[in-house]
């Protein structure tokens, strides 16, 4: 009896999807390299430019440089963008253009394995980027505490949450034109998530809305780790992102089943 087929996420075969993506990306190594340099450029430009303009600002109980404040926000943003772009573009291509998954479903793999495998991939990719970002961050002196190392699992959790939702979202896209809608959603999330400046600078009514944003949750979590300010709110952020990821995964798997095995 399989009343909830979506909840059967046990197959080791999902790792084959990860293996497939690694093989494919070896032919696109330039993309991987650009992923390494992107955060470095961000950190350098912010450190050099805005640090001088903005000076220091207070975060919790301490005064930090602007680069220290903004770096975890950039890490969260980079984890979000990486996960969403890969989940949307590449999965859309495999799902509706190249019919890669149709070939996969002629093998012992199941739709759940496909959805889960894509999530494994997002985690691997996310952890590679996050490691390079954190390394730059620490070398440039933008980390405010040894707890900064927790930013790595934090960024991976962010990748999980956004990749799962991205996978689910991509199943509703009909053509490449629909990707404009994605930008329309992603941009306000990027701009209104307290990644560039403290949430207290937003007007009161907007603060509530900002707190709902998944990117805010991630940025706040990572900032707490980076500055060594860990508290009950960290747990709330973690729960938010875990639940978001799980819902995304179940929805994605359900939608994959509808589309791929009509």
């Amino acid at each position: 009896m399989r009343i909830f087929p979506e909840l059967h996420f046990g197959s080791r075969r999902s790792l084959r999807i990860l293996e497939r993506n690694v093989v494919i990306y070896r032919t696109q190594w330039l993309m991987l390299v650009s992923g390494f340099f992107e955060p470095l450029f961000y950190l350098l430009s912010l450190g050099i430019g805005l640090n001088h303009l903005v000076g220091s600002l207070s975060a919790g109980d301490r005064l930090v440089t602007y680069a220290m404040f903004v770096a975890p926000g950039m890490l969260a943003t980079s984890a979000m963008n990486g996960a969403v772009i890969d989940a949307l573009f590449n999965t859309f291509f495999k799902l509706k253009v190249a019919h890669t998954y149709d070939a996969v479903l002629a093998t012992p793999l199941d739709v759940n394995d496909i959805a889960l495998g894509e999530v494994w991939w997002a985690l691997v990719r996310g952890s590679i980027y996050a490691t390079s970002f954190l390394t730059c961050m620490i070398i440039l002196g933008d980390a405010g505490s040894p707890w900064v190392l927790l930013c790595l699992p934090g960024a991976i959790l962010t990748s999980f949450a956004f990749a799962s939702v991205g996978l689910a979202a991509c199943t509703w896209l009909r053509s490449w034109q629909d990707f404009d809608t994605v930008a329309l959603i992603q941009l306000p999330i990027f701009l209104f998530s307290a990644t560039f400046f403290p949430i207290t600078l937003y007007p009161g009514w907007l603060q509530g809305l900002v707190r709902c944003s998944p990117l805010y949750q991630s940025a706040a979590l990572l900032r707490g780790f980076s500055l060594g300010q860990i508290g009950p709110s960290s747990a709330v952020h973690i729960i938010y992102l875990v639940v978001m990821g799980l819902i995304g995964l179940v929805v994605a798997s359900h939608r994959f089943r509808r589309i791929l095995t009509p």
């Binding site: 075969r13 293996e19 494919i24 479903l105 002629a106 012992p108 095995t261």
Partner: protein, 309 residues
């Protein structure tokens, strides 16, 4: 339902909303057999293939593949199947060899074994000299052959081919048929869907004719032709004045006449003899062709429509 059949289905139905793509079909396929599903586009062939390749679930009815239920044993069944889908689903960015190496991993075959089988299969598919080429650079026929090679990596007991030669030029089709014929000779059970009657006649020991989700006839290609058609067919085309004035006059010479928009088909025992009789009536067809009956004629007889529009 016989339990020793490789595949058996009873009362199989697939419904999409209000549309019934497959409307209660029964089939039974034995080991070593080469079995065809013949029918026009939209007859329900692909929906049937999806169900018997343990990908989509039937709305109603029962299937057993290798004696297993695909609803509960999908992965186990698919591990023993080879599937050649209608559309190529190769990894175009990868080389020919890497396509096979990667696909074998989905079946958990050890890399060393995959490499060995892939080398043999590329030989079989006559693609050995293209092993390192990017898949994107292959011709349509080569891609199909690679897809067939890919489907054989897990040494399947049953190979399912959905419209294997659609869109290929005649030379590529014949090469593909030759390869499929070898597989058949080696004892691989084949299930083929096609809307080409020549393909079905070439490759299938036994077939079902499908129309609008139902099976309208079943048997060996030759037996079906004998049962539903005459030995020969006389095809007549008339010029500008049209065929209408002649239909009544000519039809008495044939066992049956099919009036198509552009030609008349006379079902007869001896085409040349009837053609002489037609000329004797004063009818002057622009062209006349005597040929043997084919599955196309069976289909026309059963459904009143042509297979390939």
């Amino acid at each position: 339902m016989t339990s020793d059949s490789l595949l058996s289905a009873r009362g199989l139905v697939k419904q999409f909303g209000n549309f019934r793509a497959v409307d209660g079909i029964d089939v039974s396929i034995e080991r070593g057999e080469s079995f065809g599903f013949l029918g026009p586009n939209g007859a329900g062939k692909t929906s049937t293939m999806r169900m018997i390749s343990a990908v989509s679930q039937p709305t109603a009815g029962e299937i057993r593949i290798f004696g297993l239920n695909p609803v509960s044993h999908g992965p186990e069944i698919r591990a023993r199947l080879g599937v050649v889908p209608q559309e190529d689903t190769l990894e175009l960015e990868l080389s020919v060899m890497n396509n096979l190496l990667m696909f074998g991993r989905y079946f958990d075959i050890p890399r060393k074994v995959i490499r060995q089988r892939a080398t043999e299969l590329l030989e079989f598919a006559q693609l050995s000299d293209r092993a390192d080429d990017k898949c994107d650079n292959l011709s349509g026929g080569m891609k199909r052959r690679l897809t067939i090679a890919r489907s054989l990596l897990n040494q399947p007991e049953l190979l399912i081919l959905d419209e294997p030669t659609t869109g290929l030029d005649p030379q590529a089709r014949h090469l593909l048929w030759d390869r499929l014929y070898r597989l058949k000779r080696d004892g691989v059970t084949l299930i083929i869907t096609t809307h080409y009657m020549d393909e079905a006649e070439q490759l299938c020991d036994r077939l079902v004719v499908m129309d609008q989700g139902r099976i309208v006839a079943e048997g060996a290609p030759r037996a079906l032709i004998e049962q539903y058609s005459t030995r020969e067919v006389l095809e007549l085309r008339f010029g500008a004045e049209g065929q209408e004035p002649y239909v009544d006059r000519i039809s008495e010479y044939a066992e049956r006449v099919e009036v198509l928009p552009d030609r008349l088909l006379l079902y007869v025992h001896d085409g040349d003899e009837v053609l002489r009789a037609v000329h004797a009536t004063g009818a002057t067809p622009e062209s006349a062709l005597v040929r043997r009956s084919s599955l196309e004629d069976v289909f026309l007889r059963l459904t009143g429509r042509t297979l390939v529009d």
